[in-house]
Amino acid sequence: MSSEKVTVVEKIMDANDQVALTNRRILDQAGVFSLNIMASPGAGKTSVILQTIKALAPEIRIGVIEGDTAPVTIDADKVIAAGMPALQINTAGSCHLDAVMLSRGLESFPLSDIDLLIVENVGNLICPASFKLGTHANVVIASIPEGDDKPYKYPTIYRGLDVLIMNKIDLLPYIRFNKEYFLKGIEMLNPGLTTFQVSCETGEGIAEWAEWLRARVKEQKAK
């Protein structure tokens, strides 16, 4: 009987990442640009989605996949009321969406009817960071009332981002929020991160965000 060391070097999250790659291929084949929107509960994920629909539809056809731990359809109902197709995933208590859940959602989603897919993740600033979905862009919505120290406290999720949306900027005059401190933290974790400052309440900044999305959807179609 002999002993041997076997080199492996496999990422522990590889199983999820492989499914995420398949999801990406499916979305690319359908010519659909996709977002994974993450944030703390109440930061404004659904509000941003509704404002996005208002700004881009019907020029851009948008579909939404909603993830929630409780068996509710609160968010999906709002999207459907806004005239767009929405699918609700009940994670059955799981604190995040993962690539397998999204792949099941994609199976029954009319991808040929849309140009842009928005996945609204479970309200959680920690767990979604570890589970790639295969969407083209990871977006975090950071709302002003949450405070300026969140990048320092939750570095992992900010590192994995492609876009940051600062929401509720209309509340800046009423909340102690050191923008410089916040943005410095972002710069250290994710240099040059595309950032938008918006208010879903007043509509400020939404046009710039919509323009960025419009450009991405156009690029995706051209591939």
Partner: protein
Amino acid sequence: MHELAVTENILNIAIRNAENARATRVTDINLVIGALSSIVDDSVQFYWDMLSQDTICAGSKLHFQRLPARIVCQDCHTEYEIQEELRTCPSCDSYRVRFVQGEEFFLESIEIEK
């Protein structure tokens, strides 16, 4: 978090590689975990002891090699580690920095008997 799912993943990777190497049993599992990957070693060990029973990994030992978060300043090129909080360059206070280590999360190797 998610130590149960993580442990299941480690077990699946270890078993597959052990079988490919035609092992009779696995004695050690060497994990590399960066400081930014938040995993509680004790919880993984707890689940491991349960899940690896009746598998080729039964009785094997988990080894956790922790790598610190290392940052390189883009302005003065000082390299520094952060143990706790994210901070600017200790030499020039710049916030223009790049992470070069700390997000690793992989199974590096297994030790087997044949």
